[in-house]
Amino acid sequence: MQNPIFKNKEIEIKEITGLDLVNIIVKQNYIEQDDIDDLQVDFSDKSFDEAYTILISSNIVTSDLVGQAMSEFYSLNLFDLKSFPPSTDLVKKINYDIANKYKIVPFAESKMEIFVATSNPDEKLISIIKEIFPDKEVKLGYSLPNSIEDSFLLYKNNFSDRISEIVSKGEQVVPDIVKEIFEDALA
């Protein structure tokens, strides 16, 4: 589904910063402000991913605890995309550009409901998703950004299809195949 007449494409959603992340996990009582102060890091100019990496590598919190703190803060369920990966068919029901812009991944669906994971929760997402799934009630859940990004790999064709596509084009065959091999190995 390519969502060609998507009306909400101009809606902007505020990105969660590194400072937001730190403030949230302190507020939700997963770490103390003293733990943050001890790191002697200025989080005010850090992205979410940068702050997340600092916190995890400092061993003061785990990714599981960060996920719990974030989902608690936004009063959402925590959707574990790593343990329960969604199907490719389901993920592709949202156009990649929209999914990537709003950091949303369909997680599961029933006849009446669509469960969508996001790393950037906002009430505005409901209307955006509702436009794509007009007949379903939208159930939003939280997933960490790295889980959302991993799910985006499902938009890529499988390895053999990508190689066949490169060969059929007949241009830069070797460099493109090497690139695909590296990307596949890193995925």
């Binding site: 009582n29 997963y30 770490i31 103390e32 733990d35 061993n59 003061i60 919190v61 785990t62 599981d64 605890l65 719990q68 608690e72 925590l78």
Partner: protein, 130 residues
């Protein structure tokens, strides 16, 4: 002893958990709910810290010095009634059977238990189950 805090006049929880980020988060979460917390990262200290002022024990099975099975056995010899909640990633049936035989009150797979759920469990065993 890495960190111990003792307060009086509140329900007191003994946590024995060697994953420090989890132990700390658990301690903060339960304290924010009004409980007093004693946290230790090893089994021997858990046994030494246990006394009649403790109202509930949250116990991991894989902890240094004396494992959770040994801690459970030692605490049960001192007190037959106190709730002892096992939070462990050991999920084999024989582990569950063993802790049941040793007198554990309940057994939960740690990785499947968000902190809010653990708080609910603590509330249940301290208040609702009475």
């Amino acid at each position: 002893m890495d960190k111990i805090e003792k307060l009086d006049n509140k329900r007191k929880i003994l946590i024995c958990e060697d994953e420090k980020p989890l132990a700390k988060a658990l301690e903060l979460k339960l304290r924010s709910a009004g409980y007093d917390i004693l946290t230790t990262y090893n089994g021997r200290e858990a046994i030494n810290l246990f006394d009649s002022n403790i109202h509930i024990v949250l116990l991991d099975l894989i902890v240094p010095e004396i494992d959770g099975f040994g801690v459970l056995k030692a605490i049960r010899q001192k007190n037959k009634e106190i709730p002892i909640i096992i939070l462990s990633n050991l999920g084999q049936p024989e582990d569950k059977l063993r802790v049941k035989d040793l007198g554990a009150t309940a057994y939960y797979i740690k990785s499947e238990m968000p902190l809010n759920k653990i708080l609910e469990i603590v509330n249940f065993y301290l208040y609702d189950s009475k």
